[in-house]
Each structure stands twice: as structure tokens, then as C-alpha cells.
Symmetry: C2
Subunit: 344 residues, 2 copies
């Protein structure tokens, strides 16, 4: 059983994963994405993954057979385990609980060689709809506090399978960075009665500004944050206040607009940086928290251009060699080779 353990000084929870247990000799010099050979995510191999928990089948078809455009399955080597109780307990001054949670894979396309940025906006919209369905479904599990959705693209960014996919980890604790954002934005709201992200969006998009804006639609903006940790770190936010990614009355249309801007942004990054490895993480309020007035969901895209040294991990102090104003300018100047669904 995997375990969640809490650092007694700073309160950081980590997953000690036993399913993926590795001895010293199991660590190779670098990670490699499996390429060529058998792919469990390809159509026809549906029986090589755990049974699907969600799928979009435009032309119909049976579960765990071909015909899907987006398919969600439990991770075969999950970092957390869905069965069992939390069994919270102490060990002297330490705190631990069972590693209960969900770990799922969102297979974004049946096409083994596709890349998210190259899919049509309508298809990316369907990926976003799958995110939402899984969040809403897992919200029913009272043991879980947060549903984290993220994508590792490319071996250097942590992807271990080539076939394009995102991941979902649902946890009985709120991930640290999200907790810090929730606390920081609540403090700001207490001080000013305004959402800090709304203030950021206003300041970045108001007349005469826009130096850090990469792209914009009616409802969304892609921008380089003022204090980015990484070169070309890019955030996409709704322009109007909205705490939760899932809380839309019109997901089909809203997500299509978002998909267009996400696609356009990823394509700009791809062209500017020669198809870099990247990660993105969806930051949204805890599903059970409802419509917080102080939080504002967004997507953080982090191209993997420099080695994050343990120094930066160990100090929390990032040195970024590319001012965000420069990065935004490069990205705006890109001519996206094909119209990207609604982006300016």
C-alpha cells in the first residue's frame, strides 16, 4: 500500500509509492520515453489497460473496444490506490496515512503519433470535457480533497509513454502549491475584497498594457506571469472571475474557446522553442469548495528548457534567465502556421 507522509517541519506531504518501488540499481542515468514497440494506449489494445472509467465514442461502440476519440483509464502502476480507508496514524512526531486516491490516464487521441497541440480545437475540447467528467465523478468520493490534472509532454518533462496523454491524481490532501495559492488569494481578498487573479488579468489586459500578453479571446487570456519561475512559463486564465474549472453551464462552447487558445499557445511555444518538452498543471479550487470568491482557476504551462537544479528545489528560489516581457514578445511575433481557433 502506498503511503502519504508529512514532513514534520514544513508540513509537506509526499507520496511514498510502493507500486513503483525502486532499488538503487533501478535508477538509470536519465528517463526515457518508451518509443516504438508495443503501445497500451493504441486502439486495439484496450484490454492491456485497466478497464476504462470514461470515454468519448463519437460513432458509438462498446466500452473497452476501439472507436473512442478520448479514453480515460486507471493508471496501471498507480502512485495511489483507490481501495481502502485512510487509516490516519502517528509514529512519534510523524504523521502518515494510507496512500488512498485515484491515479488515472487521459488518453488524448487514438493516434499514436498525434501531439495535443496538433489536434483540432474540437478534439482538445473533448479532452477538457473528459477532465471535467472525471473531476465531477471523483468529487463523490468523500475521502478525497483534491483532483489534480496535469500533463507531462516529452521524456525530459517526465513522460514515460510516448502516446499523448494527461494524468489525474486525486488525493486526500490538497497539494501544497494549491494550498499556498488558496491561502495567498484568501489573504489578498481579506485585505482588498477583490480576487488577486482578477486584478492580475485587469492589470495585464488594460489599455496600453499587454506587454506580457501572449493571446486573448473574449473569455480567456494567455500571459507570461510577472514573476515566472521558468523561461516561457505561460498561464491561461478566464478573464472573468471563476473559481472552478468544472463550474460552467456551457462546457461545450466555453471549453471550445479555451481549447482554441490552449492550442494556439502550445503551437507558439512549439514554434518558438522547437517543440520543447513541457508540463501543464490545472489549478482549480477543491471541487467540494464550490464557488470561492477569492480563487480563480487557471492553467500553468511550463516548458522544460533548463535543468531545475536541486538548488531551486532545495531553496524554492528560482533564477529565470528570460524576462517575461521578452518571452511574451517572442511568442506574439510567431506566425502560427495554422489558425488556432479564436486566438488573436
Amino acid at each position: 500500500m502506498p503511503e502519504l507522509r508529512k514532513d514534520p517541519v514544513v508540513g509537506r506531504w509526499v507520496i511514498i509509492s510502493t507500486e513503483r518501488s525502486r532499488r538503487p540499481t533501478n535508477f538509470t542515468a536519465g528517463s526515457h520515453t518508451k518509443s516504438g514497440g508495443f503501445c497500451p494506449f493504441c486502439p486495439g489494445n484496450e484490454d492491456k489497460t485497466p478497464p476504462e472509467v470514461y470515454a468519448i465514442r463519437p460513432e458509438g461502440g462498446v466500452a473497452n473496444g476501439p472507436g473512442w476519440s478520448v479514453r480515460v483509464v486507471p493508471n496501471k502502476f498507480p502512485a495511489l490506490q483507490i481501495e481502502g480507508g485512510l487509516d490516519r496514524r502517528g509514529e512519534g512526531l510523524y504523521d502518515r496515512m494510507n496512500g488512498v486516491g485515484a491515479h488515472e490516464v487521459i488518453i488524448e487521441s487514438p493516434d499514436h503519433d498525434a501531439e495535443l497541440a496538433d489536434l483540432p480545437a474540437e478534439h482538445i475540447r473533448d479532452v477538457l470535457l473528459a477532465y471535467r467528467e472525471r473531476m465531477l465523478d471523483l468529487n463523490g468520493d468523500r475521502r478525497l480533497r483534491y483532483v489534480l490534472i496535469f500533463k507531462n509532454h516529452g521524456a525530459a518533462a517526465g513522460a514515460t509513454l510516448e502516446h499523448t496523454h494527461s494524468q489525474l491524481i486525486a488525493t486526500p490532501i490538497i497539494p501544497r502549491v494549491l494550498q499556498e495559492e488558496l491561502e495567498g488569494s484568501r489573504r489578498y481578498f481579506e485585505l482588498k475584497e477583490r480576487c488577486v487573479f482578477c486584478d492580475v488579468v485587469h492589470q495585464e489586459t488594460e489599455d496600453g498594457n499587454g506587454r506580457r500578453v501572449v493571446g486573448m479571446t473574449d473569455g480567456f487570456v494567455a500571459l507570461e506571469p510577472f514573476a515566472p519561475r521558468f523561461p516561457f512559463e505561460t498561464w491561461i486564465l478566464p478573464r472573468r472571475h471563476d473559481a472552478a474549472f468544472h463550474s460552467t453551464d456551457d462546457p461545450a462552447n466555453e471549453y471550445l474557446e479555451l481549447a482554441g487558445l490552449l492550442r494556439d499557445t502550445l503551437r507558439r511555444l512549439n514554434q518558438a522553442l522547437d517543440r520543447p518538452p513541457y508540463n501543464f498543471v490545472l489549478h482549480t479550487s477543491p471541487v467540494s469548495d464550490g464557488d470561492l470568491e477569492y480563487f480563480h482557476w487557471h492553467i500553468e504551462i511550463m516548458p522544460h528548457l533548463t535543468n531545475v537544479a536541486g538548488f531551486e528545489m532545495g531553496s524554492g528560489f528560482h533564477i529565470n534567465p528570460t524576462p517575461p516581457e521578452d518571452a511574451a514578445q517572442y511568442l506574439r511575433q510567431i506566425t502560427v502556421e495554422e489558425a488556432g481557433g479564436g486566438a488573436r
Copy 2:
């Protein structure tokens, strides 16, 4: 001029480094350690670095000439700049200040092919003495709040020059991770009137325990922390309460004992993990804070065995595939090829 910028949501400061400014085409697929060719850290090339700020010359000799065993120089491409005022200012809701600070390189040996772990304990002691001298000297600068000392070993861990060295960054803000540790340990002290690190040391070393202990001397212990972020993450702590690395009455002897355990620990990691890239970061109280009763200095060693995916950066949530009890057992079983100065 480099700039310090603060994220308005979570309050994280980043260095936007202009000296090292990089355009999209400047990012290569990975980082490489320069190997072969000219080395500015080798004896005879002293004029190729900025003038030294400290050196140990066992047989005497003139500044900026050969004959040194440890040499400290300002970084030629500093992330921060030592001249100038902080010039704190706002921009709408954002906060920034000039990137004032020191960025120095501690060249650990004149031997280009040496590795810290392979140096004699007495030599490693001298490296630690150099750390201390620089901390005490920079403490005189009222603009600076923290002196961070760290080592990147190997290209994958962020080292850009092969010749063995550590780095020092002195900053007008306290790095985030240190701030969190200071706050966390202060809260614990308020609750219990005890130092949390002392409690950790007691619990880990008391009779019948020791499952996470890697090595021990009279004054120091090397252990795998209860909730490690990384496989084989190893901490070295003084066994008795001590807030500040520099606050010793007998640095020559205390640091020799520490050097022996550090050397032994690095050699165990080297043998277990086939000389992995690694980072270490010295966590100590802010120099100006004096003897805090709630904080406890220590060294955190992080072998670089897995890619830290943006997911982990973006969520603060780490998945560690090696339980620390297993890691400690592997490391204890290693027969260190040569006696390592006092370690058990």
C-alpha cells in the same frame, strides 16, 4: 541589472537574471557540463576569474596566484549584482526590487579531476571553513538577509563547469523554503517548547530505532528523512541543538568531524547509485538572527535520480518510489572503500 520580482498570489520571489539573458534560440535540449578545454578554475588561470574574495593557501603565496587549496571568487556571470541599492518599488499590484546580492563560487580543490567526496576529510573541512568565512563576511552587508550555500554536482544537477565547486548566493530576501522551515519550526516551538529538528534527531537515534540512520558520529547524524521528496534524499544534522552553521567556537575540529561524515555519506551515495549527479543545500538560520531556539541547521543532499517533472514543481507534490527505510538500509550496507573519518 537583474531584478527580484514577487508573485502576487503566493509571495514567491524569483530572480529575473539579465546577465544570463536567454533568447528562445539559446536553449539547447539539455544542459551540458563543459568538459575538456580551458578551465578558469584551474591553478595558473587565476586571472580568468574575478579577483578572489577568500582563499586558503597552506604554504602561503600571493592572492590570485597559484598555491591555494580552496579559493572563493565572485561568479563571472552573477545572477545578482553586488553594487547598488535595492530600490524597492511597485508596479500596480506587483512588487519588485533590484537584484542586489552576492553570487560567489567556492572552488573546492585545485585538482581539476577531483570530486568533493574523494578529497581527504581535512580538505573538505577547509571547504566548510571557507563557507563560514564568507557567511561571516557577507553578514556585514545590511542589504542582505540570507546567505545560501549549495552545490550542484554533475550536469543533470545543474553544474555548468566540471571543476568541483560550490556556490554561494546572498540575497535581500529569505529564500522561500528556508522561510517555510523557519515558520514551521517556530510554530512547533510555540506549541511544544522544543526544537522540531532536535525531536527528529532524538526519535531517529533513540534505542531500538535507527531504521533511517545512515551514519553517525559523536556530534552529527546522517539520516533519510521520514518524508523525503526524492529517492535517497539524505540530511546531515548536528545531534545537539545548534541554529547556525557558523556559530561554533571550535570550527577546525567541529568541521573536521562534519567533513568526515559528509565525505562518508557522499561516498556511500556514490557507491550505491554509481556516482549520481546530486545537489546539496546548507539550511542555516539567517546570520543576523543569532541563536534561534527553534531552528537547527542541517545539510540536505538530494541525488538527482529521477526527472523532477513540472507536475511536481507545479503542485509541490512529490512521488518518491524509494521508502527512506529501504534507502537507509542500502546505504548502511555499503562498505565504504576507504575509511571515512569517524562515521560508523
